[in-house]
Structures are given as structure tokens and as C-alpha cells.
């Protein structure tokens, strides 16, 4: 029997994953959000307002580009890139930020809070708040602030207050903790604009829905360009919003492989990575940030610190829908190490004239392995989820004189 891929159920479950494991204080706020989202999700006025914004402000639809020189260089499958790096503010994050900010405005909430890792969601949120006239507070780990400076400056210029988070590993995980603490405190007038397809219900669903425009466009575009569906989709997976956004429109296309690429860091054996699906004994189903999913944790259920050269993938859990699709075998997950990612980053710069975000370079690293193994009439569609200007410091530090 074909599994039912129309998830979540009304309690926010994706099979055994999902749910809402949060302090009681914010349960009523999640109820309110679920109701409001349910109302606006199918409201043609809301949808057309959002689409109008995407057309006139975000710059959608973003194109797909045929990566001719990369295809020739790798000598296998034809490679297409979905160009989310061309969306306003430089990444797919704006799709969700605008959607939720518009919803917040409809709900009468005037104060927006958000977490950010690489800063792309923070920039997207600050952008949406500036455009819609909403107050904006962004929580960001101090480690991430140091390695994503340009995005910190962008957020400030856009009128957001950036609050450094010094607790725990001082990265994305801790920024989410701090944003949730703010929400618990200011829940009555504050909207938590969560940036990935994770957290308590309805966030994984809502973020996926706002990001699914990526796959809807891409499916149409690749059919127009090539007359057929791709053989494989490739996208990086931190929380997993760009990947689920690309995959969603293709979920019933059984012949399209859906491949997610996690952060392999310094390699799985090193223990310094953020790959939840790579078979590391530390990755087991657990509960973090309000949702049940795969979580990197020690034997005692304490969340472990992760590592990735890309701040946006440096996260110990993953969206519940990915865990669900993975258990069904509908999606596949692999990983790319920091050094593979740096190679992919440079290759895309030189062969295609595109500077990718280090997150997106994980997808390219997988394309470099996958394309040569496929025939020349096969098609790979990779999601270029963001641009890499923010990462130049990190890359220069890692490569030094080798550039």
C-alpha cells in the first residue's frame, strides 16, 4: 500500500514524529497560531497578497539555471540549479519570513522575534519586518555572530535588534532556546517567526507550506525546460526547510529521488558533525525544541554540541517531516564534510560564476559525487538555497593562501 504522504495529522504528527512538547504557557499561543494559520492557509485573499509580494518584492519566480560547465566538468548527469540565492535578501528564508510576517500582521501582533544561525533567516525576518512595519528582535548565538558578520550588519541596518546568545554552544540551538524564553515571557503580544521546518506544531507544517513554492516553481520550470521530471533532487538539510520546500511538490513523483545533504563537519567518525541520519549512535529519536525527531544526544539524553563550517546546518535535530520521510524510505540522506564543501564552493564559483552559501555548497558537494555516476541524459536539480557573500570571511580563513 502506498504510504500517506499528506502529513501532518491534526495533532501535528508525521507518523511517530512531530507534536508539540512545549511549556504550558505557550500552548494557547500555538492553538491561536494553528487556528489563524488554518484560516489563512486557504484564504484566497491572503494567498494572493502573499503571491503579489513574491512577484513584486521577493523576485519570484526564481529561475532554474542549467549549470553547463559544471555538467561538462563532472561528465555525467545534466545539472540544474534552483536559484533561491536570487530571492530578495539572498536566500530561500524570505519565502517563509514574508509568509509568517504577513500572518502576524493579520493576527494583530506587532512584535516579531526570531532565531537565526547563519543569519539568513534573521535577515529575511528583518527584511519582512521592515517592509511590513513590525518591531523585530533576532536571537543569534555569539559564535554565529562572529562567523556571519555581514548578516549581523544587514539585520541592524534593516532595523532589527540583534541579541547575542551566550548560553550553551552559542549557536543556532541556543538561539532557539532564547527565542522560546522570550516568547514564553511576551507571549501575549509577540509572534515567534520560526525559521525552519521544526519546532512545535504548526511550525513544521507552516514553514514547509511557505517554502513549498520552491518545488512548485521548480517542477513547472524543469518540465518546461527539459520535458521531463528530474531523476534526483538534492538539497542541504539543517532544520530542513529549503529541502522540504523543494521536495514537497515532488513527493508523489515516485521516480524522483529526494536527497538531503547533512553537515558532515570533520567527518562522522570524528564526532564533530551535525549529521542526524548518518548512523552515528548519538542520533536517536528524541525531543528538542518542541518536536519529536532525530536528535544528536548522549546516552543520558543531553543534547550534544554539533559542528559544521556552515552555521545554518549546525543544529542537533532536524524537522519531523524529514524523519518521517526517511523512515518510509521516500527520502535519502547523505552528508558532505567541511573540506568537500569548500571544494564544491570554489568549483561553483569558478565554473558557474555563482558564489553559493556554505549551506548550499553541501548540496553541490553531493552533486559532484552523484552526477558522474549517472548517465548523460539523467537530470539532477539541486537547490541553491542561498548566496555566499556572508561566508567570505569563513572561506578566506579556511583556505588562506590557497585562493
Amino acid at each position: 500500500m502506498k504510504p500517506n504522504l499528506n502529513v501532518p495529522d491534526e495533532r501535528g504528527y508525521y507518523g511517530a514524529y512531530g507534536g508539540r512538547f512545549v511549556p504550558e504557557t505557550i500552548v494557547p499561543a500555538l492553538d491561536e497560531l494553528t487556528d489563524a494559520y488554518g484560516e489563512f492557509k486557504d484564504d484566497p485573499v491572503f494567498q494572493s497578497e502573499l503571491m503579489h509580494l513574491h512577484h513584486t518584492y521577493t523576485g519570484r519566480p526564481t529561475p532554474i539555471s542549467f549549470a553547463k560547465r559544471l555538467t561538462d566538468h563532472l561528465g555525467g548527469a545534466q545539472i540544474y540549479l534552483k536559484r533561491e540565492d536570487l530571492a530578495h535578501s539572498g536566500a530561500h528564508k524570505i519565502n517563509n519570513a514574508l509568509g509568517q510576517a504577513l500572518l502576524a500582521k493579520r493576527m494583530g501582533k506587532k512584535r516579531i522575534i526570531a532565531e537565526t544561525g547563519a543569519g539568513q533567516h534573521g535577515v529575511g525576518t528583518a527584511t519582512a519586518c521592515a517592509y511590513l512595519g513590525l518591531q523585530c528582535v533576532i536571537y543569534m548565538g555569539s559564535v554565529d555572530i562572529a562567523r556571519q558578520k555581514p548578516n549581523v550588519l544587514r539585520m541592524k541596518l534593516l532595523g532589527a535588534e540583534v541579541r547575542p546568545v551566550e548560553s550553551g554552544s552559542k549557536t543556532l540551538k541556543d538561539a532557539i532556546n532564547e527565542a522560546m524564553r522570550d516568547w514564553v515571557t511576551n507571549v501575549r503580544d509577540t509572534f515567534y517567526l520560526l525559521g525552519s521546518a521544526l519546532g512545535p506544531h504548526p511550525y513544521p507544517q507552516m514553514v514547509r507550506d511557505f517554502q513549498s513554492i520552491i518545488g512548485q516553481e521548480a517542477r513547472r520550470q524543469i518540465l518546461d525546460r527539459t520535458g521531463s521530471l528530474p531523476d534526483a533532487l538534492v538539497a542541504c538539510v539543517g532544520g530542513g526547510s529549503n529541502a522540504i520546500g523543494l521536495f514537497h511538490a515532488f513527493r508523489e513523483d515516485e521516480n524522483v529521488r529526494l536527497i538531503g545533504v547533512e553537515a558532515g563537519g570533520e567527518g562522522i567518525e570524528s564526532g564533530r558533525h551535525a549529521a542526524r541520519f548518518a548512523g552515528d549512535a548519538k542520533a536517536r529519536p528524541g525531543i528538542l525544541h518542541g518536536t519529536r525527531s532525530y536528535v544528536l544526544q548522549n546516552e543520558d539524553g543531553q543534547i550534544v554540541e554539533t559542528h559544521s563550517i556552515s552555521a545554518g546546518l549546525d543544529y542537533p535535530s532536524v524537522g519531523p517531516e524529514h524523519a518521517f520521510l526517511r523512515d518510509l524510505g521516500r527520502t535519502e540522506y547523505t552528508w558532505a564534510t567541511d573540506s568537500e564543501v569548500l571544494d564544491a564552493f570554489q568549483l561553483l564559483c569558478r565554473l558557474e560564476g555563482i558564489i553559493p552559501a556554505l549551506e548550499s555548497a553541501h548540496a553541490i558537494a553531493e552533486v559532484m559525487k552523484l552526477a558522474p555516476a549517472l548517465s548523460k541524459d539523467a537530470i539532477i536539480l539541486a537547490n541553491l538555497s542561498g548566496r555566499g557573500d556572508k561566508d567570505l570571511d569563513t572561506v578566506f580563513k579556511a583556505l588562506g593562501d590557497a585562493i
Binding site: E24, T25, G168, R181, V187, P285, I287, Q297, E299, Q302
Partner: protein, 262 residues
């Protein structure tokens, strides 16, 4: 006597005084001291103790408990060790209810039934799980009932009628009322809407109501004791241990007890 019976008895004998229920995390500032602190709290007249299990991502906690539980983790404190701490307190003759308070992930990693079984066997009277709201707690609820333990659900000032009804239908032993929207940590004033909140819950729930979050002085404990059945104090105890050690803990506990008698 089961853990639930012990909790019920603690609240039932009809002295008109709110119960003092301090929270303290196992492993802070180290394991031995944390057990000594809890023993001293019990001997100084507390009515129950919330035995805190440290977690790496305590999103309902403010800076004081975050910092203390971080130290506890660095000291190697595990859930297993917390259960042992309960056992040790029982061996030292502590007879008041001991309620284990843990975030849900360490419990899942331990295994739900193994945890409830081991913990109650060690002398745990009940459980508090801040990130396991009643509608996600079916399995845990059944296990606490099977092992005769209390299970305190939370309610917050934001809780509406349906949430209050849900907690009232599920909570065993008492209901934990969060005094303000926010995280744990001392605050100066008694929230203006607390009385109305307590009354709102009382109209629906028959369980004793214990109020926590933000209480750090005998005066504030007394003010809250006038409207609630239990007063939970956490962060203040951590500051006391840091600043004045066991003597300060004992003196403060007696002061609060006295203020609740008045």
C-alpha cells in the same frame, strides 16, 4: 504508602498553611553538596522538595537555574544519578514528598517505564515535566498511575478554560501554577492577576494548587501562600547556596516557613 498518597497527605491535613516546596538541582554545586542542601531543606521544615534534573537545553528556565544546571552537567550529573540522590535522601531519613522535575528528553533516553519504575522504587513520590503538556502525556500519565506516583501538570496565566479542564482531569497530587508568563527566576512583585488566575483554576480543579516562578522572599511567599496551597521556590535557593552555604539555606527555609504560619 504510594508516592501519590504521600503527596495527597502532605496537602490534606487541614492546617491552614500553604506548603513550602523548594526546588533544587542535583549536582549543584556538586553532587554531595546538593544532597546535603536538600536534606537541610527537609530538616528545616519544607513540606516537599522538587528534585531538579539538569538538562542541556532548559528552555523554561531563567539565567540562575540555567547556570546552576550547566555546572551540574559539567559535574557529570545524569538522570540515573538524580534517582540515586532520591534514594540517598530516603536513606538519610527524609520522609517528605520528593518530586523529580525533568525535561522530557532525558526521560525518553532512559526509557519511560524504566524511569518511572526506577524512580518510584528509589522513593520518588511524583513527577513534573515542564515540556510535556497534558495532551502529549498519555503514556507517561498511565505509567505514573501504574506506579502510584503524583504527576503535576502545569497551568499558566495564559491557560484558557479548556486547558484548565484538561489539567484538572489529569493532574494527580497537585497542579503547578506558573505565576507569570515567563521563565524561572526571582521577581520583585506579586503579579496583579495572580489571584484572579488562582480563582479561575479553583473553580474547575479540586487538586491543591502550588504556585511557582519568581518567588524569592518570605514576604512574597506569604502573599502567595494566602491564595495558594503551595509555594515553590527555586532560583533563590541556588543564590543562597552560592552566597551563604547550608546555614543560609536553613535560615531562609525557617524564615519562609514562619512567614507562611502567620
Amino acid at each position: 504508602m504510594s508516592g501519590l498518597q504521600l503527596v495527597n497527605e502532605t496537602f490534606s491535613n487541614a492546617k491552614k498553611r500553604a506548603r513550602l516546596m523548594p526546588y533544587f538541582p542535583v549536582g549543584y554545586p556538586d553532587l554531595a553538596m546538593s544532597i546535603n542542601v536538600m536534606e537541610a531543606i527537609a530538616r528545616a521544615g519544607a513540606d516537599a522538595i522538587e528534585v531538579g534534573v539538569p538538562f542541556s537545553d532548559p528552555l523554561a528556565d531563567g539565567p540562575t537555574i540555567q547556570a546552576a544546571t550547566q555546572i551540574a552537567l559539567e559535574n557529570g550529573t545524569t538522570l540515573r544519578i538524580c534517582i540515586k540522590a532520591v534514594e540517598e535522601l530516603r536513606q538519610r531519613g527524609v520522609t517528605i514528598p520528593l518530586i523529580l522535575m525533568s525535561y522530557v528528553n532525558p526521560i525518553m533516553a532512559y526509557g519511560l517505564e524504566a524511569f518511572v519504575s526506577d524512580a518510584t522504587q528509589a522513593g520518588t513520590s511524583g513527577f513534573i515535566v515542564p515540556d510535556l503538556p497534558a495532551d502529549e502525556a498519555d503514556e507517561f500519565q498511565k505509567l505514573t498511575e501504574k506506579y502510584g506516583a503524583a504527576f503535576a501538570h502545569f497551568l499558566a496565566p495564559t491557560s484558557n478554560e479548556s486547558r484548565i479542564k484538561l489539567a484538572a482531569s489529569r493532574a494527580r497530587g497537585f497542579i503547578y501554577l506558573i505565576s507569570v508568563t515567563g521563565v524561572t527566576g526571582e521577581r520583585d512583585i506579586v503579579p496583579a492577576d495572580l489571584k484572579e488566575f488562582v480563582q479561575r483554576v479553583r473553580r474547575v480543579a479540586s487538586q491543591p494548587l502550588a504556585v511557582g516562578f519568581g518567588i524569592g522572599t518570605p514576604e512574597k511567599a506569604r502573599a502567595i501562600g494566602e491564595i495558594a496551597d503551595g509555594v515553590i521556590i527555586g532560583s533563590r535557593y541556588i543564590s543562597l547556596v552560592k552566597e551563604g552555604g547550608l546555614d543560609a539555606v536553613v535560615k531562609f527555609t525557617r524564615d519562609v516557613r514562619e512567614s507562611l504560619e502567620k
